[in-house]
Structures are given as structure tokens and as C-alpha cells.
């Protein structure tokens, strides 16, 4: 089969020493930021973009993907030992995992999370390799109207379908879309909403926005929150190994988690957090010992951890084949591709096949690295959790401003006699925005996705209307776009009905929050 050949060639390239080093740096950094509460893969990739500007594109992208995968692994450690999720997709893991840790079964909990992540990552990456060529073949026939419908669907699922309020999700999205308008219109050269400021002509950088919302916003929220408790790290006691019974109870949960997580990531249907919640409720209903749930059931760790990794791999399907980011991390990875002059989408597979397949193959390699990093070396990561908050956040802000200056260090604004950096002023302003969004219960991811996807959606819309000479009906004339709009309507309508029937509690748990 053709896919095998391409994947094999990709593997050869992924196993070259320099690519292995990039993958290793990526998974190590990813695990570290996954473990640390308050920073996630989205922020890390955003901070690394300016640093990698002069590096090799393939290597940098391999590193970014490694960070994404690593973040999913690392998050589980924090959930299990600290009861504070390291990233949003690990919230469920804390439910059972922390209970296990308190009973002295932290070792097996970490083991089932790591092995489950490995199994899911492996299967889902293979799934990505085999599905991607089909999607690409299909997508080559897409017209601009189909792409526009696809983006509308992504807007809807990322903002309105999950979370406790469609209103706040859509508001966050429209803030992102509004900010995306700023700058020179690519088709006509007209300036929009720049208010005469030169620095705004190029628009607002996705990375500045992401760093501000995630790093500054999160730091402000954590520092000001009086209610937060200082969680204690539960030490890993007893055997790290899983017993035979643990294995028996875990393996089916891993597979179920994978089959739940991968499609959710692959169809723009929400992030890894959604997948992990669905997997948790599935495990609860499949379990032979449902009474153990809430008291440290190992299935409740195995399933969701597999699901969030599988969904991370799934997210790469629309990102690579259609150029469609459906999570904040994917949105920033898209910015990473663009930085190297690459546009993800069906043409990327045709024009840059070696790069794409090296990236996919390196994910398989990264998975093996992560298993090694997370099982024997777990003690090292646990120590990261003991860094005091004041040093942690002071360091995060240092790197946040460093990355922003690195991307655009021009001191282009005057404040009296002092020259100041406009990019840092934006960083501060959006940081305050990020704090306010968090304070009033608005999700963050739709702002980032709206900012990057808004201008792309506008391009497709105008292209479609130019072809049809202004006839709006062109938008709903292809079967693909009709199907996509129907799915979008269901995605908005179903939660509304569920909320009206008093099942909103489940949905608010599914809040698509961070990465």
C-alpha cells in the first residue's frame, strides 16, 4: 500500500539524528509544561515560534508536535499527584487518579495513564496516517464554499457546542473574529481598523495573543484568586507496577478511550477535554465495579488518559489535511507552519510529502520516547511540582515577554522621550483581557481560533461569492457544505435541548477551556 511506503520513508527521515533530537527536546519540554500547572502546550509552542524561526522547518514542526503529545502525558502526573489538573484535558483524571494516589496506589495510576497514553498515541497516530490520504483526496475537490462551511462548523464546535454557555463561547469567538479584522485586507490592500497605527497594519500576531491570554491572563488569575487552596503533592508510595488485575481492568479502557478520543479530535467536535469526559462516563457504565468510581477506579484513569492522547492525534487530521485548527494548540501550530511559508491542507501532502510523513512518523517515535520519559523517570517530573509559585510565575512572565520581544522586538512606539515596544503593550492589554475572560467565565480557546481562522474564513467566503458573482446561494449548493451546516446546526441545537432538559451540568463539565 502507498501509505506504508510513505510512512516508511517518513520513519527513515524521522530516525535521523537531528530529527530525533528535535523530537526529544519537544517531548521533554512538553512533559515539563504538562506537569506544571498554569502552562500548557499552546503557550509553549507560541513561545518557541520566534526561537525556531531560523531553524529547520521539519525539525521545528516535529518539536511542536512532540510538545503537544508530551503535554498530554505530563498533565496526568499533576492530576494524579496534586489533584490540580496540569492542563484541561486531565481534569477527569484527577477524579479517580488522585483518589488512587491517596490510597497509596499512585504508582499504578501513573503507570496506567502512561501506558494508556502510549497505546492510544500509537493507534491514533496510525489512524492519522491511514485516514489522512483519504481526507486529502476528498478535500482536493473542495470548493471555497465547502471550506467556508468547514470553518463555520469549526467556529461552532469550538465556541458554542460545549461549555456551560453558548452565549459566552460565541462572545469569545466574536472577540477573536473582531481582532482578526485588524490590518491590511489581503485582497484589496485596504486598511481596516488600524487607527493609523503602523504596527497594526500587519494585523495582530496569533502568538502575541496566545502568550498574553495563556501566560499573562493565567498568572493574573492565579495571583488574585483568594479561594485557591495550596494543594499538597501526594508522594508515590508502594509499587509502581500494575498488578495483573490492574492490567485486566485497564486494557479495554485504553482501547475504548482511543476509539472515543480519535474521532472526536479528527472531526472538529471539540478538544481533548471533551473526549476525556465522554470516556470517563463510558468507563463508568461499562465497569463491572461501578461502585468503585469516585473512590479510585483504575478504569477511570486508563480510559480518559487514552482518550485525551488519541484526540490530540485526531486533531492533527483536520490540521494537516484541511488546514483547519480545532484547538488553541493546533491554531498556534498552524501559525508555526505559516512561519515557514507552509500552508497545511491537501496541497501540503502533494507539495511537501516528505515533510508531512516525517512529521507523522516522528509522532510514533515521540510516543516511545514519552513512555520511557514518563515511566522510569517519573520522580524527576514530580519534583517539578515542588517549585514554589512565586518563582514559577515570575519565570513564566520572563519567558512570555522574552518570546514576544523575540518575535518583534522593535521599539516602535514613543512614550514621551522613551521608546517602548508596541508588541509588549499589546501583550499587557491582551493579558488583562485574558484575566477578565477567565474571571467572568468566558472560554479562551475560541478567541485564539477566531483570530487565526476568521481571516481565512473571510477569504474563502469572498472567493466563493466572487465565483458566484455575489449569489449567496452558492454557499449551500454543494452536498459537502450542506452536510457540514447540518452538523453545525446539530452541534448547536443539541446542547440547547440538553440544557433545557436540565442536563446542563454535564455540558458545563465539558467546557472546552485551554489547550
Amino acid at each position: 500500500m502507498e501509505t506504508f511506503d510513505l510512512l516508511a520513508q517518513g520513519l527513515i527521515s524521522a530516525l535521523q539524528v537531528h530529527n530525533l533530537i528535535y523530537a526529544l527536546i519537544g517531548v521533554t519540554l512538553g512533559t515539563a509544561v504538562g506537569v506544571l500547572p498554569g502552562i500548557g502546550p499552546a503557550l509553549t509552542v507560541a513561545l518557541l515560534l520566534p526561537v525556531t524561526y531560523k531553524l529547520d522547518p521539519a525539525g521545528s514542526l516535529i518539536m511542536f508536535a512532540g510538545i503537544y503529545y508530551g503535554g498530554m502525558y505530563g498533565g496526568s502526573t499533576t492530576s494524579i499527584l496534586l489533584n490540580t489538573p496540569g492542563e484541561s484535558a486531565s481534569i477527569v483524571t484527577a477524579l479517580e487518579g488522585n483518589k488512587m494516589a491517596r490510597q497509596g496506589r499512585g504508582g499504578p495510576a501513573l503507570a496506567t495513564a502512561a501506558i494508556g497514553s502510549f497505546v492510544a498515541g500509537l493507534l491514533a497516530t496510525l489512524g492519522l496516517a491511514f485516514i489522512a490520504p483519504f481526507v486529502v483526496k476528498f478535500a482536493l475537490a473542495f470548493g471555497p464554499w465547502d471550506y467556508f462551511a468547514l470553518m463555520v462548523l469549526a467556529f461552532v464546535t469550538v465556541s458554542a457546542a460545549f461549555g456551560d454557555s453558548a452565549l459566552r463561547g460565541l462572545t469569545a469567538l466574536f472577540i477573536g473574529l473582531g481582532l482578526g479584522l485588524i490590518g491590511i485586507d489581503l485582497q484589496t490592500g485596504q486598511t481596516r481598523l488600524a487607527f493609523g497605527i503602523m504596527d497594526l497594519l500587519d494585523g495582530i500576531e496569533v502568538t502575541t495573543m496566545a502568550v498574553a491570554l495563556f501566560a499573562i491572563g493565567e498568572t493574573l488569575k492565579t495571583a488574585s484568586d483568594r479561594d485557591q487552596v495550596n494543594a499538597e503533592v501526594t508522594a508515590v508510595k508502594g509499587s509502581v507496577w500494575m498488578t495483573l488485575e490492574d492490567w485486566k481492568r485497564s486494557w479495554a479502557a485504553w482501547l475504548r478511550g482511543t476509539f472515543i478520543g480519535f474521532p472526536i479530535g479528527a472531526m472538529p467536535a471539540g478538544g481533548a477535554d471533551v473526549a476525556s469526559f465522554l470516556s470517563y462516563s463510558a468507563e463508568k457504565s461499562f465497569s463491572k465495579k461501578p461502585e468503585e468510581f469516585g473512590h479510585g477506579a483504575i478504569e477511570g484513569v486508563a480510559g480518559p488518559e487514552a482518550a485525551n492522547n488519541a484526540s490530540a492525534a485526531g486533531t492533527l487530521v483536520p490540521l494537516l489535511t484541511l488546514g483547519l485548527p480545532t484547538t488553541a494548540t493546533a491554531a498556534i501550530m498552524l501559525a508555526g507552519f505559516q512561519q515557514f511559508g507552509l500552508q497545511p491542507g491537501p496541497l501540503l501532502f502533494a507539495n511537501n510529502a516528505p515533510l508531512v510523513w516525517a512529521l507523522i512518523a516522528s509522532l510514533l517515535v515521540a510516543n516511545f520516547m514519552l513512555l520511557v520519559l514518563n515511566l522510569p523517570l517519573i520522580g524527576l517530573w514530580v519534583r517539578l511540582l515542588t517549585i514554589p509559585k512565586h518563582w514559577l510565575y515570575a519565570g513564566i512572565l520572563t519567558f512570555a515577554t522574552l518570546g514576544t520581544l523575540g518575535a518583534n522586538g522593535a521599539m516602535s512606539m514613543g512614550f514621551g522621550p522613551v521608546r517602548i515596544s508596541f508588541e509588549l503593550v499589546l501583550l499587557l492589554a491582551f493579558g488583562v483581557l485574558g484575566y477578565l475572560l477567565r474571571r467572568f467565565g468566558y472560554p479562551i480557546a475560541p478567541v485564539v481560533v477566531g483570530l487565526i481562522l476568521g481571516p481565512m474564513a473571510e477569504q474563502q467566503l469572498r472567493r466563493a461569492l466572487a465565483i458566484s458573482q455575489g449569489d449567496l446561494l452558492v454557499l449551500v449548493q454543494s452536498p459537502v457544505s450542506i452536510v457540514l451546516y447540518v452538523v453545525a446546526i446539530v452541534a448547536v441545537g443539541l446542547p440547547v435541548i440538553m440544557r433545557m432538559r436540565g442536563k446542563g451540568g454535564v455540558l458545563s463539565q465539558l467546557a472546552t477551556d485551554e489547550d
Binding site: 466574536f174 472577540i175 473582531g178 493574573l220 512565586h390 520572563t398 523575540g406 474571571r439 476568521g454 455575489g470
Partner: protein, 165 residues
């Protein structure tokens, strides 16, 4: 009134009304700025003004929705936030922005570092500023010299890398 089970009558959520006003304000700015654009007549059918108008209209609808939500009191409960740490961090960022071009990366970022640590209750500020400046210099050295990132240098950086101001 709107929630039958609640015995206490809910007052409209003031902060949510402010948010609604801001959203409406944003919509007005987009409408007004877009209407100021001068377009050659040929472009006008689906030109660069269509999308801004759509988004501004969406913002108006969302502002109305937010008002309704505020009247019903359906915003999630908010944690009681302390504002002092926020002012420390924002102060640190403003300090860094103002100092960067004159004092260079390490000193300016040391100030940010100290203010952030202070926001989390760690002082004294002279000590954390010193630690921050040293840390920032190490980071500056790695990224500016090792990875060729353009980061502003000041007297401290010049002194330590070239031996003169």
C-alpha cells in the same frame, strides 16, 4: 422573578451589563471605522467591508444576549479576587516596558520578575529583583547570543559581554 425557586429576588448583574456595553461599543467602533473606508465602486459587492459588518452585527446580538443574561442573573458565580496582586503584576509589566530601551533586558525584566514574585507574596523586592536580573541575564545570554534572538541590550549586557558600557 425569573427563577421561581429562588426566594430572594435577583438583581441584574452589574458587571455583566458593563460587558454588554463594551461589546456594543466594539460593534459601534467596527461599524463606524468600516463606514469610513473609501472604496472604488467596482469592489463594493463583496468587498472588504462585508465581513466587518457581519461581525459587528454579531457583536450587537451578543451584547443583547448578554443584557438578557445579566437580567436573569445567569452568569456563573465569581470568585472573590484580590486586586493588589493584579496591580503588582501590571505594574511590573509597565515597568519593564518603560525600562527596556534604556536599561536593557536584564534590568527591566528583573523588575517584572520581582513584582510578579511580590504578587505571590515573596519579597523583599530588592532581593527578588537581584535574583530576577541575574536570571534574566542568563536567559538573555542564551537566547540573544546562542539563538540569535534580537533582545534589547542595555548597560548591564554590554558591560558583561564586551567589558565596556
Amino acid at each position: 422573578m425569573t427563577t421561581g425557586s429562588s426566594s430572594r429576588e435577583r438583581r441584574p448583574d452589574g458587571a455583566a451589563l458593563v460587558i454588554a456595553a463594551i461589546l456594543a461599543g466594539l460593534a459601534v467602533v467596527i461599524f463606524w471605522q468600516t463606514s469610513q473606508m473609501r472604496l472604488p465602486p467596482l469592489q463594493q459587492r463583496v468587498g472588504p467591508t462585508v465581513f466587518p459588518y457581519v461581525i459587528a452585527s454579531g457583536l450587537v446580538l451578543l451584547a443583547i444576549g448578554t443584557v438578557v443574561s445579566a437580567m436573569r442573573g445567569s452568569f456563573p458565580e465569581r470568585s472573590k479576587d484580590d486586586y493588589a496582586p493584579i496591580f503588582w503584576i501590571i505594574g511590573g509589566l509597565v515597568g519593564q516596558i518603560m525600562l527596556l530601551s534604556v536599561a536593557g533586558f536584564s534590568i527591566a525584566t528583573g523588575v517584572l520578575f520581582a513584582c510578579t514574585a511580590k504578587a505571590f507574596g515573596r519579597g523583599p523586592i530588592w532581593q527578588t529583583a537581584l535574583i530576577g536580573a541575574v536570571f534574566s541575564f542568563v536567559v538573555w545570554f542564551i537566547f540573544a547570543k546562542g539563538l540569535q534572538l534580537s533582545l534589547p541590550a542595555g548597560p548591564l549586557e554590554r558591560l558583561l559581554t564586551t567589558g565596556s558600557f
